[in-house]
């Protein structure tokens, strides 16, 4: 006799049915529709920026060459299908509608394939909730993932597994069961990988009573599951690691070690399915044919939605980075500056870099930069700035070789994406590498939603004078009158940029501002006084932080007469106060002194100079 699973005993005792809701068949579908709306609205409103960015970190191209790598491992086609669907996040509402629809397909299939009783209708919402959470938990890993395709590949995979289970119900005889399991494994393992095998395992779990009575049949099917993938491995697949023969296509924990939460969600779905398969739902259905409880089910689904909202990644910095990235692409510098001035969140170094770019473009760099730099968070370890904003910032600051390099490095690690492709195009266009630019533009033109961009770039290729009317290109090209240097390290984005700016050949006030910002950030340079003189010699207003630096460096250097410079009296006075405060706190331990000084002088260059470390190797 087979022991009844504990799970089944528990749910049988759980009194969900009520007389009130008897016979109300449509009410459950209302719950489904409401869940659909929740998924749509929550992702469409709250997560549209990250989903759009994920779309930029992927690409879908028609043609044989694009599909070929996905045929090299079992389950690869799931990735291919996923990339097809991800591209629709270009229009976030369209993408979110597709996502929400597929989540509902998963929910309905869970309900149908496991014969979940109506009174336990809410159980069918667990798998889509876990999938949704795995997407909503996405964090900085989007900049690191070699494939954001898991969003859909796992969802489609689970849907397919459920289809396999659903159709298994139609096999009545033992022969047909064997045939079904054998054929599914042979035919679908190459397409679905783990999910084909998983589907069959669910069939076995659900049908365990029948199969245990005929153990030979059970062993035969298990032998299918074991041997067929092995045969595929030895005769068909030459790119598959033997460790992943049976799990190919499934998201594994080590792939996302930086965000283990994602993997736990997938694991939860697997556990759910196995529990459902072993549950005596069929018998419960037969005993309580018409019972359902929409109210309790609604409440439980509502709780699931609340859990989803609570456990979603609410990182404000990430949200801000995505926004700043968007504004940078739109060249909406004013919004970036306004965002910096709001000071709503403590910025990460990524945000500081964006703020500095916006401030520079708007002409406030040496006026405001340390107000934000002094309050920058240390960034999470394991993430390099260059991987997140390397190509974008190197392009904005006219470092085309570095822009191209980091786009290519990104392509090597993450595969070709819209994001790296666009920077490869832009840098090749500016560098005058026409054939190379054309190759990339042709690829971009094959995408569904970037044809217009491709056409614009193509026009630049054929008529470079048009490029000179595009402010993004013009401003980047204006910064390119520097000599070639061999051996500069561009991996450390901040220091590389600062060293570049420090040595820039100043031709206009904007470049002077950039040069001075670097000198100040690097805490002085032999050119400091000469560059400061350029302000006065050209009748330019001395920015606040340059004045503060003159007072500071002049204090240490008696040979310089700072009266030559038009320094505001309040700055001179405040500097004296700063020195007095420093004297007061000199016997207090450094960390505490820093904290006390920050309260009063956290917006000054002097605070940066004495208490903040120079950018090094981020």
């Amino acid at each position: 006799m087979v022991t009844r699973p504990i799970f089944a005993k528990v749910i049988n005792k759980f009194p969900l049915s009520s007389k009130k809701n008897k016979g109300n068949n449509y009410s459950l579908y209302v719950i489904t529709i409401l869940f659909f709306l929740f998924c749509l609205l929550f992702t469409g409103i709250y997560k549209k920026d990250i989903l759009f960015r994920i779309q930029e970190f992927s690409i879908f191209l028609p043609g044989k060459e694009f599909i070929k790598p996905y045929l090299e491992i079992p389950g690869g086609l799931l990735k291919y299908a996923a990339y097809y669907l991800i591209q629709f996040f270009y229009h976030p509402w369209l993408g979110c509608t597709i996502l929400a629809s597929l989540l509902i397909v998963l929910q309905i299939l869970t309900y149908k394939a496991f014969n979940i009783p109506k009174k336990f209708y809410f159980l069918s919402f667990l798998p889509p909730t876990f999938i949704l959470l795995s997407i909503l938990k996405l964090d900085y890993i989007i900049f690191k993932m070699s494939g954001n395709e898991y969003i859909y590949s796992q969802l489609i995979g689970f849907i397919c597994s459920l289809f396999i289970l659903y159709f298994y119900c139609f096999t009545k005889t033992i022969k047909s069961k064997i045939l079904y399991c054998g054929l599914i494994t042979i035919l679908l393992y190459p397409i679905l990988g783990f999910f084909a095998l998983g589907g069959i395992i669910l069939c076995l779990c659900k049908d365990y009573k029948t199969l245990l009575e005929r153990r030979k049949i059970l062993f035969l099917i298990i032998a299918f599951l074991f041997l067929i993938p092995l045969l595929y491995y030895y005769f068909i697949y030459f790119s598959l690691n033997s460790n992943y023969i049976y799990t190919s296509g499934l998201l594994l924990s080590q792939h996302y070690s930086y965000s283990p939460g994602i993997w736990y969600m997938i694991l939860s779905i697997l556990i759910c399915f196995v529990c459902y398969a072993f549950s005596p739902f069929k018998r419960i259905n037969e005993n309580n044919k018409t019972k359902e409880n929409p109210l309790v089910n609604s409440i439980l689904v509502f709780i699931l939605c609340i859990i989803t909202v609570v456990f979603t990644n609410h990182d404000k910095n990430l949200k801000n980075i995505l926004l700043l990235d968007k504004w940078t692409k739109e060249q909406n510098w004013e919004s970036i500056v306004q965002q910096a001035r709001k000071k709503e969140i403590v910025p990460t170094p990524v945000e500081s870099l964006y703020y500095n770019l916006g401030l520079w473009k708007e002409g406030y760099l040496c006026e405001e930069m340390f107000d934000y730099t002094n309050n920058t968070l240390f960034f999470m370890s394991g993430y390099r700035l260059v991987d997140i904003v390397g190509s974008q910032l190197y392009f904005q600051y006219g470092r085309m070789n570095y822009c191209y390099r980091w786009a290519i490095e990104s392509m090597t690690i993450n595969g070709l994406t819209i994001d790296n492709l666009i920077y490869m195009i832009k840098s090749s266009l500016v560098n005058g590498e026409k054939e190379l630019a054309e190759k990339y533009i042709r690829t971009l033109h094959k995408t569904k939603f970037y044809k217009e961009d491709a056409q614009r770039f193509y026009n630049y290729l054929k008529r470079p004078e048009l490029m000179e009317k595009d402010t993004e290109f013009v401003e980047a090209m204006e910064l390119m009158h520097y000599q070639d240097i061999l051996g500069e390290e561009s991996t450390f984005l901040e220091t590389c940029l600062l060293n570049n700016f420090k040595n820039i050949e100043v031709g206009n006030p904007s470049e002077l501002e950039l040069c001075m910002s670097a000198i100040l950030s690097l805490k002085g340079d032999r050119n400091f006084w000469a560059k400061s003189m350029e302000y006065t010699n050209n009748n330019l207003l001395l920015p606040r932080y340059v004045q503060e630096a003159i007072v500071l460096f002049g204090h240490d250097n008696q040979q310089v007469n700072i009266n030559y410079f038009p320094i505001q009296n309040n700055i001179k006075t405040r500097f004296k106060q700063f020195l007095q405060a420093r004297e007061t706190y000199k016997n207090i331990e450094n960390e505490k002194a820093s904290s006390l000084m920050k309260e009063q002088y956290g917006d000054t260059y002097w605070y940066y100079y004495f208490y903040i470390n120079k950018p090094t190797t981020r």
Binding site: K64, E65, R405, E438, L486
Partner: protein
């Protein structure tokens, strides 16, 4: 007379087969067809896969007739010309030592016109049936998926020799490089793996072994290999290499040897000995003469000026010039003689690398660039040929472009060369083939054909180190994978 009648019959037969589809009325145009890849005015091997191409001339309709002078023809509609392998083979087989013609008819405004005909010559000399290469993104520091491939040149079949995906775990990928064979045969071959499962995979008489060539005294494990043509010996360079980037120069990166020497690895005894080991010389790229009595290599004299060696090389990178040297070898006692300069590139302010001797021993093919040794990044690099009898060296006419020409090898019969070029787009390396005649002249090169003529523009990997083979690699991918996971056998330095 009989010959003339035969010729008339052949021509009329070929025309009759063309006339099935070709337009009856058309005007002769003197416009030259714009086709990609450029398969015009070539000498091609009689066993090569179909040279499929795409017509870029704008038109409403296209008809193309491909016919051999001695018979056989194919008529294809549309601007993408993908030729059936069996029909193509018939043309090549029946027209060996003669030409085939490509006639393209285009229709514009309802009227047909015929573009200037393309004529390619079919050589009597076969090309080696297999070509192996490494596929990798033209990245700089990072790498991920890398594969060593073998392509059957007589058709479009491409298979993995090995790829790193099969052993990749937890996003750790092993770098693969430097595949080499003994005398174009694959029962004795090798390639390197770097990284977590690193080692040199050596196949000797079909038996596979993973070897660790790095000993405590060597500056690195073996790098650039050269199998002795007859003995179980492999000459390697050992290199400490640095990579630095240009902030503006379009060549973008410089790869430089900071220290390098040459070693000899005895496969049977698993032992290593030095070939040359001069502190002030940078020796690299060994290559054996076909008789195995001489080893050629590139060498640059380096006298440090600044205190820091790597800094010094970065500062003076344009002054490092490699010459080609040779050193006699006695295979009986495995000893080397005294080195001699074969080509003094420094004297013409250039740098010569990658010496390769033709199978008949008459010619030395090498790459000449302005400086340094990593010529795949130097747009100045071209292929040069030296007649080893007359010592006359010259740029190899017809094959060079304004962009990079580098890694090159001879076919086993010495009539074909394959080399890497970046002429297509300046960044992605592509394999080009060229006929090399007995007079030491090369013909116009052509890109290795692909089934889809649009393949290369859509392909985002570079072809590294193209090497001819007369047979496919027999060791399977899975066998390499199993061996790769083993602990390597440590070689010892004598």
């Amino acid at each position: 007379m009989n010959k003339i009648i035969k010729y008339i019959i052949i021509v009329s037969l070929s025309c009759s087969s063309c006339s099935i589809n070709i337009p009856k009325e058309y005007t002769e145009s003197h416009i030259f067809p714009d086709i990609y890849p450029d398969y015009t005015d070539l000498i091609i091997p009689p066993n090569i896969a179909p040279l499929n191409f795409k017509i870029n001339n704008k038109a409403e309709e296209y008809i193309t007739c491909i016919s051999g002078n001695k018979g056989n023809s194919i008529v294809i509609k549309g601007n993408t010309i993908q030729i059936k392998e069996s029909k193509w083979k018939n043309i090549l087989e029946n027209n060996k030592g003669d030409s085939y013609k490509i006639e393209i008819f285009i229709k514009n405004n309802g009227k047909w016109s015929k573009l200037s005909a393309i004529e390619n010559y079919i050589s009597q000399d076969n090309i080696d049936p297999y070509l192996s290469y490494r596929l990798i993104e033209p990245g700089y520091v990072v790498y991920k998926k890398i594969s060593l491939k073998q392509r059957n040149l007589t058709n479009f079949q491409e298979k993995d020799i090995f790829n790193n995906n099969i052993i990749a775990d937890n996003n750790n990928y092993t770098c693969l490089n430097c595949h080499a064979y003994q005398n174009y045969q694959t029962s004795n071959m090798q390639f390197h793996a770097r990284g977590e499962l690193g080692g040199t995979m050596i196949v000797s008489d079909g038996k596979l072994q993973k070897v660790d060539l790095k000993t405590d005294d060597l500056i690195s494990a073996g790098v650039y290999p050269a199998w002795h043509p007859h003995k179980k010996l492999i000459a390697y360079s050992v290199n400490q290499t640095g990579q630095v980037f240009h902030s503006k120069d379009l060549q973008k990166v410089e790869v430089q040897d900071l220290i390098s020497d040459l070693i000899l690895y005895d496969v049977e005894n698993n032992s290593i000995s030095y070939i040359v080991n001069n502190e002030n010389d940078l020796e690299t790229f060994p290559a054996w003469s076909p008789d195995g009595k001489t080893l050629y290599y590139s060498s640059a004299q380096y006298m440090p000026e600044l205190g820091n060696r790597s800094q010094d090389i970065i500062v003076n990178y344009r002054n490092i010039k490699y010459n080609i040297l040779s050193i006699p070898f006695s295979s009986e006692n495995k000893t080397f003689g005294i080195a001699d300069t074969v080509f003094n590139a420094q004297s013409i302010n250039k740098s010569a690398t990658l010496p390769r001797i033709s199978p008949d021993g008459k010619y030395l093919l090498f790459t000449l660039g302005d400086y340094g040794n990593f010529h795949i990044w130097h747009k100045s690099s071209d292929l040069w040929i030296m007649n080893l009898e007359t010592k006359e060296a010259k740029k190899l006419e017809n094959v060079n472009s304004e962009d990079v020409e580098s890694y090159h090898t001879w076919s086993s019969n010495g009539r074909w060369i394959v080399f890497s070029s970046r002429r297509d787009d300046g960044s992605y390396t592509r394999p080009y083939l060229s006929y090399f005649n007995e007079k030491g002249q090369a013909s116009k090169p052509f890109i290795v054909p692909q089934k889809d003529p649009d393949f290369y523009p859509n392909f985002y990997k570079s072809y590294n180190i193209p090497e001819f083979m007369i047979e496919p690699v027999k060791t399977s991918v899975h066998e390499f994978a199993v061996s790769m996971k083993k602990v390597p056998v440590k070689a010892s330095l004598k």
